[in-house]
């Protein structure tokens, strides 16, 4: 709780917004680019203060800020981080400089508004992860939609307007329902505060809980996205600019899983337990279905998008398990997915900027012409496939153990996804990197390998794969106490399926 700077969380949240204003105020592209990049870097460095000053044994919220906002409605400006949100905040601030750097390098079309939108998006994302007041959360949660909508609709490719509209409307439809539920929760309990709400669950009738939970879960299921609410994702990813995809897959999707874990499950514990099996089954369908559909994609980006459906299925499984292994694994896996998929989109982006296509059929034999690129691509693919020693394995393994303790059949079914993940990733790798060069555009003299600064973008991600894969305790030590506390506030619930 020892905050080195007062209002550290507000500072981290709103620094990017200030940056956005500066970017808009500045004239000329390069000052704008520099300002945006520096803003995200500074935000990242400041956010590291959270890590440095972290109280390891502490399960409760740290760096709390609690101010009255609208007292007549008991609305508070209440912010704080615990082990569950810490790494999501750090993931956001970590990915942003990479995304901005990439954009600075490759986006040419009205870069000023683009960067400003990216920075506003960062504020919204961080805010959503640290808000402890439902309305405050909702404001940030919704605020993420607007910049993303413009980023896809204005800077996207091909069918971008359709994709942006679909993204916006789909997510918005879910959150509209959630807003109603938030108000209903307030009228039932008199509180918007997530630190108080779990204790007030008794004030809600079972029917009320059920409907409230459905409303929350629907909003988050669309965001995650859980099967069958996922079809906005491939469109949004394929059309979004690279940095948009990195942030979308890396961070925005986690708002769904995080929201479920932080809000839906603790506020409506009884209903969450009731609906657990439904969500677990949807997650398992997502794992297998997403992987199989990924296998036949022709566009690399939609392949990665479908792989996200599969990966987030694992995260949801761990959350549904609601035991220490499951939830800790999920929190770590959210970070892992952010890093691995972020890196995958980054690599696809680097390739796209060189070849202006994302169709797998256009590639082949790149290992010869761009070996460094392919080497990185392989590591990233392996991280995504959950190779032991890299980050993905730790998350998947702990989730499977958690799920197994909860419901063995689900864990065993989910394990099938481990096989399929290797399949589609290796197939993609084969189509991109292996084989003879058939398209002359892929020859070494026409295609340049990664440059120093591009490697510098990838290297931090890859290093983290190894750090998490080999020393997961650095992270789990911080995650575990809060997860344990979250589980302890759940009433004793026994879920049994088909027994």
């Amino acid at each position: 709780m020892s905050s080195p700077i007062p209002y550290l969380l507000s500072l981290i949240t709103f620094l990017p917004l200030v940056g956005a204003l500066i970017v808009m105020a500045l004239a000329g592209d390069s000052p704008k680019k520099r300002a945006a990049f520096i803003t995200t870097l500074v935000t990242f460095v400041v956010s590291l203060l959270l890590w440095v000053n972290w109280d390891n044994g502490q399960a409760n919220m740290q760096f709390v800020e609690d101010l009255r906002w609208l007292p007549e409605f008991n609305l508070r400006y209440h912010m704080g981080v615990d082990g569950i949100s810490l790494f999501l905040v750090l993931l956001t601030t970590f990915l942003m400089p990479i995304a901005i750097y990439f954009s600075n390098k490759y986006v040419t079309d009205s870069i000023g508004p683009y960067l400003a939108l990216m920075l506003v998006l960062e504020t919204a994302m961080i805010g959503a992860f640290i808000a402890l007041d439902l309305v405050l959360f909702f404001v940030f949660f919704e605020l993420t939609l607007i910049p993303m909508y413009f980023l896809i609709g204005r800077w996207g490719s091909g069918n971008r307007v359709y994709a942006a509209m679909k993204f916006f409307l789909y997510t918005f439809a879910g959150s509209a329902v959630m807003l109603v539920a938030i108000l209903a929760v307030y009228f039932a309990t008199g509180s918007f505060d997530i630190t108080e709400l779990p204790a007030l669950a008794a004030k809600m009738s079972p029917t009320f809980q059920t409907w409230g939970f459905i409303a929350f879960a629907l909003a988050f299921a669309i965001k995650i996205p859980l099967f069958p609410f996922h079809t906005w994702l491939p469109d949004a990813h394929v059309q979004a600019p690279t940095a948009g995809s990195i942030i979308l897959a890396g961070v925005l999707l986690k708002l769904g899983t995080y929201g479920y874990l932080r809000f839906a499950a603790p506020i409506f514990p009884q209903a969450a337990a009731q609906f657990g099996p439904v969500i677990a089954i949807l997650a398992i369908i997502g794992i297998i279905y997403g992987a199989l559909v990924a296998l036949v994609q022709k566009d690399v980006k939609s392949l990665v998008a479908y792989s996200s459906v599969a990966h987030l299925g694992y995260v949801m499984l761990g959350v549904v398990a609601m035991n220490p292994q499951g939830v800790s694994g999920s929190v770590l896996q959210m970070v892992n997915h952010g890093l691995s998929t972020g890196a995958l989109f980054l690599m696809v982006g680097l390739l796209y900027e060189r070849r202006h296509t994302r169709l797998l059929a256009e590639f082949g034999g790149l290992w010869k012409s761009v070996p460094i690129f392919c080497g990185f691509f392989l590591v990233v693919a392996m991280s995504s496939a959950g190779l032991p020693g890299l980050n993905g394995f730790v998350g998947e393994f702990t989730i499977l153990i958690g799920m197994y303790k909860h419901e063995p059949v689900f864990a065993i079914l989910a394990a099938i996804g481990v096989i399929l993940a290797a399949w589609y990733l290796l197939t993609a790798f084969r189509k991109i990197a292996q084989g003879p060069i058939t398209n002359p555009a892929n020859e070494a003299n026409r295609l340049s390998d990664l440059k120093f600064d591009e490697i510098a973008m990838l290297l931090p991600l890859v290093l983290l794969f190894f750090i998490i894969g080999l020393f997961p305790n650095l992270f789990l030590d911080k995650i575990n106490p809060s997860v344990q506390a979250l589980i302890n506030q759940q009433p004793a619930i026994v879920m049994k399926v088909g027994r």
Partner: protein, 750 residues
């Protein structure tokens, strides 16, 4: 010497550093890469042998194996440990793997010349050097591969074991697909990774069960294999879903972990990847088949043997299953091996078959013989693979020679190609194996395929070092009396006999006969008789960096068996204290001459039979006599029981079909159309609302407007500006108003 034991954790480090150093610093310089890789392997060897020998020489070493932790990974409420251990089982593995790895690395440095399937025009620099364009990368991969193996060997927990196991899986994927320009290599690499991963997922589930149901809450071998924990697992029962049978937990765990071995050690039905793994460069085949990967699968069984033994006690079906898979694989693969033409493919099926021996040995409880055969097999199989690589290399050079000089009959001067790469690589490269394919009754033959034994013959005189070492390896494989393979195979057969496992014994004996037979066939076709092609005629002996490893491995293939003769069984004595230490029961049988005699008879019989048929090689164009004798059975064996085709037609095709259908379901038919449909519905509703708005709401407004307009029209007459009319109106309205106001008052008054 005991102090060395605590350095065991260092064993995987040098090769890993070599890997990192090559990737980061030396990837441009091929010679330096090779030196770094070999240096790493040698360092690892120099650590391993002192460790192994201090274990060998320590008194009752098995009673006090070394184990220590390095650091831990907490998972939720419990810990998974990372550390190392040295015990008799892995001391033997260290002895074997580290030595063979050095040999293979040296061999590889000579073997990786410019490959024939590439065009020198594409790789001018590499072609000028005469080395594979990705030579450095190869050295890096095999270093990482070695790290995986050595790490696995010294692991003290099943979790780290699994991590290294998967690292090896990754490396095998990379190395099998090393020549990724070839479609077959790409396919083989993915097949290897996927097939082994199927086994790995079973194993992962087994690991999960083991982790959760063990008392210790970790996966340390010393904890999960303690007598106490095994007893716990044996008493804890579980009802298996679907079949509704209640068994002790230890049984499903053992079966699931066993599937890891089935995948990695290529046992039926997951054996399909191993023959295709031949697509990798030959040193890789030697690594995969001998020193590392497949051995790791059997080593897992050796490691986990106490668990299997316990499972066998409380649920005998478990061990019967293991024994059945092993014995069946041994027999099944050896029948395939007798009808293959590719020199490496024969060896591949032979490996599968020999691994079947070891698995069957575990299944019947013959713990020490399984480990013994694992060690001896690694030596002679490495020898055979490296030898076959040398043969292929030689025949390839012969082919280049033929292409260069045209087809002429006089033999080339002996020394021309000996010792050194005779051709400048620019000339040598560019000839893919695109020769004429002829259809023969005994299988299609590509006339320029340097791996097809029908294109060889009489190579012993051309390549004496390769030839003689290969023959010695072959004798060891056949179990020729006194060679390494004889003693270890005899131990397994003796245990099967003594343990009363007649079926296993029978299968293994038939398999032993077939093994000797196909080995003689292979030696006959390759080395004996007369050369059947020009390229065989002009095949030169390989470079010393390739032949020396062969020569150095040969003594082991010949003599290593003497550590386990029935009359002075050192290995038994070495392992015995360990078995006591871990308190499990391994099969002990009294020595009997019957299995030994049988073993000698089938080995010698098979060799003699093979020699009788193939001793003079085949004549040019002669159909394999076996083809005629076996009739349709030949087709079954030659086509490997069509299992690959079966998988391709079922599992793979189904998955692809399902993927496509699901994608259509997702994108074209159901899910996306629903979403779009809802969107369309929204638009349609909006249109409807717009129409409603236009027709009804706006219509009402318009109607009101129209009405007021009409009213206005009527009233307009009244507003024509005449003052008197206004006044009149004013008066009228005032009157009305007054009337209305006044009327009530008036009425009240009345």
């Amino acid at each position: 010497m005991q102090g060395f034991l605590n350095l065991a954790w260092l064993v995987p480090v040098p090769t890993f550093l070599a890997f990192a150093a090559i990737v980061l610093f030396a990837n441009r310089n091929k010679t330096v890469s090779a030196l770094i890789a070999i240096g790493g392997a040698v360092l690892s060897f120099l650590l391993s042998w002192p460790i192994a020998f201090s274990a060998f020489t320590a008194d009752h070493f098995g009673q006090h194996p070394v184990e220590a932790q390095l650091f831990s990974i907490p998972t939720g409420t419990s810990d998974l440990w990372i550390g190392y251990q040295v015990d008799p089982a892995n001391a033997l593995m260290l002895f074997m793997s580290s030595f063979l790895l050095v040999m293979i690395f040296i061999y590889a440095s000579g073997y990786m010349t410019f490959p024939a399937h590439l065009s020198p025009a594409t790789y001018p620099i590499a072609a000028a050097q005469g080395k594979d364009p990705r030579y450095s990368r190869f050295m890096a991969y095999i270093s990482l591969f070695a790290t995986g193996m050595m790490g696995l060997v010294v692991s003290n927990s099943l979790l780290t074991f699994f991590i290294f196991w998967e690292i090896m899986g990754l490396c095998s994927y990379l190395l099998i697909g090393f020549w990724y320009e070839k479609k077959s290599a790409q396919a083989a690499s993915i097949k290897a990774f996927m097939t082994t991963r199927v086994g790995d997922v079973f194993m992962l589930v087994g690991l999960m069960f083991l982790y959760i149901h063990s008392q210790s809450g970790n996966l340390l071998f010393s904890d999960i294999l303690s007598a106490e924990n095994l007893h716990h697992l044996a008493t804890l029962s579980v009802t298996v879903p679907l079949i509704n049978v209640t068994v002790p937990w230890v049984a499903p765990i053992a079966i699931l972990i066993f599937f890891g071995t089935v995948g990695k050690s290529a046992q039926f039905p997951l054996h399909v990847w191993l023959p295709d793994a031949m697509e990798g460069p030959t040193p890789v085949s030697a690594m995969i088949h001998a020193a590392t990967m497949v051995s790791a699968g059997v080593f897992l069984l050796v490691r986990m043997f106490p668990l299997f033994a316990t499972a066998g006690e409380v649920a005998p079906g478990t061990m019967h299953f293991v024994a059945f898979i092993g014995a069946f694989t041994a027999l099944f693969a050896s029948t395939i091996a007798i009808a293959q033409w590719d020199i490496k493919r024969v060896l591949a099926y032979s490996t599968i078959s020999q691994l079947g021996y070891m698995v069957a040995a575990i299944g019947i409880g013959a713990y020490v013989p399984a480990l013994f055969h694992l060690i001896t097999h690694a030596f002679f199989k490495a020898l055979l693979f490296l030898g076959s690589g040398s043969v292929i290399h030689g025949v390839e050079h012969g082919l280049h020679h033929v292409h260069e000089h045209g087809h002429h009959d006089e033999p080339a001067p002996g020394g021309e190609h000996g010792g050194k790469e005779g051709h400048t690589p620019t000339e040598a490269a560019g000839h893919g194996h695109t020769g004429l394919v002829i259809h023969r009754k005994d299988g299609d033959l590509n006339l320029e395929d340097p791996q097809d034994m029908r294109n060889m013959g009489g190579l012993l005189s051309r390549m004496p070092r390769t030839g003689w070492t290969f023959i010695i390896g072959g004798l060891a494989l056949s179990g020729f009396p006194l060679t390494a393979g004889f003693w270890s195979k005899d131990e397994i057969l003796g245990n099967a006999w003594g343990g009363g496992n007649t079926l296993v014994f029978g299968a293994l004996v038939i398999s032993a006969f077939l093994t000797a037979f196909y080995t003689a066939r292979q030696i006959g076709l390759t080395f004996l008789g007369k050369p059947r092609t020009e390229m065989a005629k002009h095949a030169p002996e390989s470079v010393p960096s390739m032949t020396w490893p062969l020569i150095l491995i040969t003594p082991f293939a010949l003599l290593l068996g003497f550590i386990g003769t029935p009359w002075g069984n050192w290995i038994e004595g070495f392992m015995e204290p360990y078995i006591e230490h871990l308190e499990f029961h391994a099969l002990h049988v009294e020595f009997s001459f019957i299995p030994m005699l049988v073993s000698i008879v089938v080995a010698v019989g098979g060799l003699v039979a093979g020699y009788y048929v193939y001793g003079q090689g085949l004549a040019e164009g002669q159909v394999d006599p076996l083809r005629n004798w076996l009739g349709p059975l030949w087709l079954v064996f030659h086509n490997k029981y069509w299992i690959d085709e079966f998988y391709k037609g079922t599992v793979v095709a189904f998955s692809h079909w399902l993927s496509k259908v699901l994608y259509w379901f997702d994108d074209l038919w159901v899910i996306d159309p629903i979403v779009d449909g809802i969107g369309q519905l929204g638009v349609w509703l909006a249109r409807l609302a717009a129409e409603f708005d236009r027709l009804v709401v706006d219509g009402l407004v318009n109607l009101a407007g129209w009405l007021s307009n009409r009213a206005g029209g009527i009233l307009r007459n009244t507003q024509d500006g005449q003052v008197q009319v206004y006044l009149l109106l004013l008066v009228v309205s005032m009157t009305v108003w007054l009337l209305l106001k006044a009327l009530p008052i008036f009425l009240k008054l009345v």
